[in-house]
């Protein structure tokens, strides 16, 4: 039986038989459907994925007319001089994204990419943003992460819930997270306001929920405040993962318990808070094939696009939504995941 060239979730090459590929696609969609209690992909959609993943083509793309919008996170610090040894100023990197990489929306942010450290240097960020806005044309977000982890002692003001929980101090851990939320909301509104006042088209709350339900709640509250303060502000909320971790476990927003929410339920709250764009993030499993991961990711995202009233941009960076966990994801893997996400879910952007 013919072997099919394939990739694992870490990007390494492998081979699958035809039956193994069919099995991976079916198991991937079933895993997502069972976890989130959503419909699995149809037989037609699985056949579409099978044809694409069994094709020997190195590169695939969407049909003409199906192209989508691309927004980015931390787009102005991706080259990072210390990493790639390309000394680019953030303004130049924004121009590279706009002119060479075809970005439809550009993201500007600080290398630390968290609201708390930016607060102390916000005037420098405003200055850099104001200059960059003069020399770029595409819409520009100021991006940063809620990152509640930065509010724990010894660097932050609150006791560390990750130290309290193993000691059985559940109540204290919850109180610490509730205090962290208050600090984080203030910082996000402060920085978000400053960057909008300097001309940003919007604010990108990236990796929301990374520290669990408290992190997600702080984001939703900050979005709500900023949208009331600046009704014209564009706001993107990109999630940290497919599932909101219940690090506190009793937190709610608009009466909905946050712990355990999957993307289609996260979307409903992000919409209620007033965001303009929602970015679901589906984890990539490195022990499974690319086909398994893509079938699973597409299954999670499809109900988001079917039920949303705002644009949905799936997070498809390294290690997310079918993209391998690798510094240089192979183009065969990226293009297949990209095409599948766009043409099955009919979402608004990536």
């Amino acid at each position: 039986m013919q072997k099919i060239y394939a990739r694992m979730g870490d990007g390494s090459a492998t081979e699958l038989s035809e039956s193994e590929l069919r099995r991976d696609l079916e198991e991937g969609t079933r895993d997502a459907a069972e976890r989130a209690k959503i419909p699995p992909l149809s037989q037609g959609e699985l056949a579409y994925l099978y044809d694409m993943y069994s094709s020997p083509a190195r590169f695939v793309g969407v049909d003409r007319g199906n192209e989508v919008i691309f927004s980015y996170d931390n787009g102005s610090a991706k080259s990072r001089e210390d990493l790639t040894e390309i000394p680019l100023h953030r303004a130049q990197e924004a121009q590279v994204y706009e002119k060479f990489l075809g970005a439809d929306m550009v993201d500007f942010g600080h290398i630390d990419y968290s609201f708390k450290p930016v607060k102390a240097i916000v005037t420098f960020e405003q200055q850099a943003l104001e200059y960059t806005l003069l020399v770029t044309t595409a819409p520009m977000f100021y991006g940063s992460q809620p990152n509640l982890g930065t509010y724990t002692q010894p660097d932050g003001p609150c006791p560390n819930p990750m130290e309290l929980l193993p000691q059985g101090k559940i109540t204290e851990a919850r109180m610490a997270q509730e205090e962290m939320i208050e600090h984080a909301v203030k910082d996000m509104v402060y920085v978000g306001s400053a960057m909008y006042e300097s001309g940003a088209d919007g604010i990108n709350f990236d990796t929301a929920g990374a520290a669990g339900d408290a992190d997600f709640l702080a984001t939703l509250r900050a979005v709500e405040i900023l949208k009331k303060k600046y009704p014209q502000m564009g706001i993107e909320v990109g999630m940290a993962g497919e599932f909101v971790l219940g690090m506190h476990s009793e937190l709610t927003y608009d009466g909905v318990r946050l712990a355990g929410l999957y993307p289609h339920k996260q979307l409903e709250l992000v919409e209620k808070a007033g965001a303009t764009v929602f970015g679901p993030a589906i984890n990539t499993n490195t022990d499974k094939s690319g086909a398994w991961n893509t079938a699973r990711a597409v299954t999670f995202v499809k109900p988001c696009t079917e039920n949303s009233h705002i644009p949905v941009h799936a997070n498809m960076g390294m290690g997310l939504s079918g993209i391998p966990v690798a510094d240089c994801p192979p183009v065969d893997a990226v293009s297949r995941a990209s095409k599948a996400m766009v043409e099955i879910t009919r979402l608004d952007g990536l």
Partner: protein, 106 residues
Amino acid sequence: MGMEVAHVSASGMGGIRTAGDLVARMEMSRGMKLKEAKEYVANKLKVSVLDLSDPIAMGELRQDLNIGTMAPFVGGAKGIEAKLRIAELLDIEINCVNRFKDKLKW
């Protein structure tokens, strides 16, 4: 960065090489979904929706409209100048353009 090239080649509109930035503005400023945003921009530009992702058709049109291109001609609109024209063309508010006008007391 290499991943961005693969993604955009596979399924991206193309940013200012085409009309991707204009469609993005409608998603961001009006919360339009992709289909509605493409139709809105195509109507404003008086082109077909398919033309919006064509770098040749859009490159020439962007040059004619003077709304910013990948390689602007001498004297052509760049950066904030292009955005000022885009705000008028799409009939939208652009935050940095409004602030720029305020500074100039336009």
